[in-house]
């Protein structure tokens, strides 16, 4: 089970959406991070066969995915960003329809529908019209439809957008439980969502893959680059700007400025444990000239 992206590029006229992406994905959960417009959706749209690359190849176990066609799509699960539904369909009917689209026989589809509705905790509202669902319920239904064919390759594009914290945790748990024997590409810019579940992080900026590392490895690269400084009232705006504050955190009843800097910004500054958010801020902080 291996997905290879070889020198993958996509241009819309003269606009470069993706350029020269080389990547090999094995089993595991991959967090695809990047700011808006970085090319994340373009990349996963190509992996989902929605669009074709301008140049380069997409290979599944050495075979071109566009040539594999139906065979490739038979083990592909895709949950797009801003997922749309037939609003007049009930959740059950929608999943049964998607089962048909994914080549399951009607009886098989009914069984799978029941199973998935249970997995995403929608069995009580199975007969309700999807149009009346909340954002969270729609997202859960989205993950259910992506799992219908028990995919070897699961692509999730901003799956937790619009979910409340409780639903995000539930969602994370579902993904985590699925990650063992398949490739999951989790595309998001909500960093905490992937911090605890992704094994590997892919950073995409302006259409280029700038990092492809193990989560721990990437975070440990931030050692000595993250600082915390107690927030004092008398700090001027000029100083605040100069410090390039990435975040303001609170612990022990005190407020701290979290600063990304290659040098200790102040004598009082402490070096905390870095996290994925720091990685994100380091590479994508626009106030610092779009990061490193």
């Amino acid at each position: 089970m291996k997905l290879e992206l070889k020198n993958l590029s996509k241009f819309y006229g003269k606009v470069r959406a993706l350029e020269g992406v080389d990547l090999t994905l094995d089993k595991g959960i991959y967090a695809l991070l990047g700011p808006n417009g970085a090319g994340k959706t373009t990349l996963i749209s190509m992996i989902a066969t929605l669009i074709r690359p301008t140049a380069g190849k997409l290979l599944w176990d050495g075979r071109d995915i566009f040539e594999m066609g139906e065979e490739y799509r038979s083990f592909l699960g895709y949950m797009p960003q801003n997922i749309s539904y037939y609003k007049e369909f009930s959740a059950e009917m929608f999943l049964q329809y998607m089962c048909e689209m994914k080549g399951l026989k009607p009886r098989e589809g009914r069984g799978r529908t029941t199973e998935l509705l249970k997995l995403v905790a929608l069995e009580d509202v199975a007969k309700r019209k999807v149009g009346s669902f909340s954002g969270g319920m729609k997202q859960r239904l989205g993950i259910a439809q992506a799992l219908i064919n028990d995919p070897k390759l699961l692509i999730l594009d901003e799956p937790t957008a619009g979910l409340d914290p409780k639903e995000r945790i539930r969602f994370r748990n579902i993904i985590h439980s699925l990650g063992e024997d398949r490739i999951i590409i989790y595309c998001t810019h909500i960093v905490p969502d992937v911090e605890h579940i992704a094994g590997r992080v892919l950073l995409l900026r302006r259409g280029k893959l700038i990092k492809n590392n193990e989560m721990g490895e990437l975070i440990s690269q931030m050692q000595g680059l993250v600082w915390e400084l107690p927030l004092k009232e008398q700090v001027s705006e000029e100083r605040m700007e100069e410090l390039a504050i990435s975040n303001i955190t609170q612990h022990g009843g005190k407020l701290y400025m979290r600063i990304i800097s290659e040098e200790q910004p102040d004598e009082e500054a402490l070096a905390p444990e870095p996290c994925l958010e720091d990685v994100y801020m380091y590479f994508f902080n626009e106030s610092q000239g779009e990061g490193k």
Binding site: A48, T49, I83, M93, G103
Partner: protein
């Protein structure tokens, strides 16, 4: 494929409210059929024309035509007689008023009958010149007017346009394309299912609306002589003389089917390249108008 077809139908019925569309268009068709009145523009009295058509029995062989000519001659003599009374009274004050009034009345009556009879004779002569012994139909003009308006099958066209747009554009309108394209079935097979549904629905709808129109014609205008030459109907005046009304209607029916299928197919092709529904509707309209122009 069977499953796909079933789902495409279900989507049309559940999501696109096809049942309501069918119900609404059928209602409009029935109302038009029941409430519409013929728009006839003739220089003679139509009721008298029908009365005379019925009196002379439909098929005008030479002896009947001779009878009409004699009647016209009789009218000419009577007209002269009454005209004399009227002129005498008006110009020279001759005769009595009662006689004058009576002459005026008869003169008017004769004029009405005469013009209707002349129209009948002209029609008979025309029909004979095209195809001998073609009958004059009592409700020729109403039927022709009916055909002119209803044969266009406007309601059916509106129905075909609406359902084809709903069918071909539903996944792009709903945003479901992004889920359906990477599915095993893929866009191609879904599109094929849509084409099958579109063609079947188009044929069914055109037939249904055509049949309804025909039923209204039969019940309202005594449209029952289907085996008589098509040229007997004003509407088919320019058609080949060997065709019966049934055959002419059959040809029209097949052509209208072809026309609807072509228009619906173009909507389908358009949806492949564009998401612009208005463009599809315009294309549908243009094809329909061009094909009506041809026949």
């Amino acid at each position: 494929m069977k499953g796909l077809l079933r789902w495409e139908f279900r989507k049309l019925i559940i999501n696109q409210k096809l049942i309501w569309l069918i119900f609404a268009t059928l209602l409009v068709q029935v109302l038009i059929g029941l409430l519409s009145k013929p728009r006839l523009y003739v220089t003679y009295n139509l009721e008298i024309y029908k009365e005379l058509t019925a009196e002379y029995g439909g098929v005008y062989r030479e002896e009947v035509k001779e009878e009409i000519r004699l009647k016209l001659e009789e009218y000419a003599i009577k007209k002269e007689e009454y005209q004399g009374i009227v002129t005498g009274y008006e110009m020279y004050g001759m005769g009595i008023q009662e006689e004058y009034e009576s002459a005026c009345f008869y003169l008017t009556e004769i004029n009405i009958y005469e013009s209707a009879l002349r129209a009948l004779l002209a029609k008979t002569d025309y029909l004979d010149s095209v195809k001998e012994h073609s009958p004059v139909l009592t409700y020729d003009l109403e039927l022709s007017d009916y055909l002119e308006r209803f044969e266009i099958n406007l309601v059916s066209n509106v129905f075909c346009l609406l359902f084809s747009v709903l069918l071909f554009f539903e996944s792009s309108i709903s945003g479901m394309d992004q889920l359906l394209t990477p599915s095993v079935t893929g866009r191609k097979r879904i599109r094929l299912a849509k084409w099958v549904i579109a063609m079947v629905l188009c044929v069914l709808a055109t037939s249904l609306f055509y049949l309804l129109g025909f039923l209204f014609a039969v019940t309202r205008w005594n449209f029952c002589s289907l085996d008589i030459p098509a040229v007997s109907l004003e509407y088919f005046k320019q058609w080949p003389k060997n065709l019966s009304i049934l055959e002419a209607l059959g040809v029209l029916f097949l052509y209208r089917q072809l026309q609807s299928l072509a228009a619906v197919a173009l909507v389908g092709i358009w949806s492949r390249f564009s998401k612009n529904i208005i463009g599809a509707a315009v294309l549908f309209g243009v094809v329909t108008v061009i094909m009506y122009g041809i026949l």
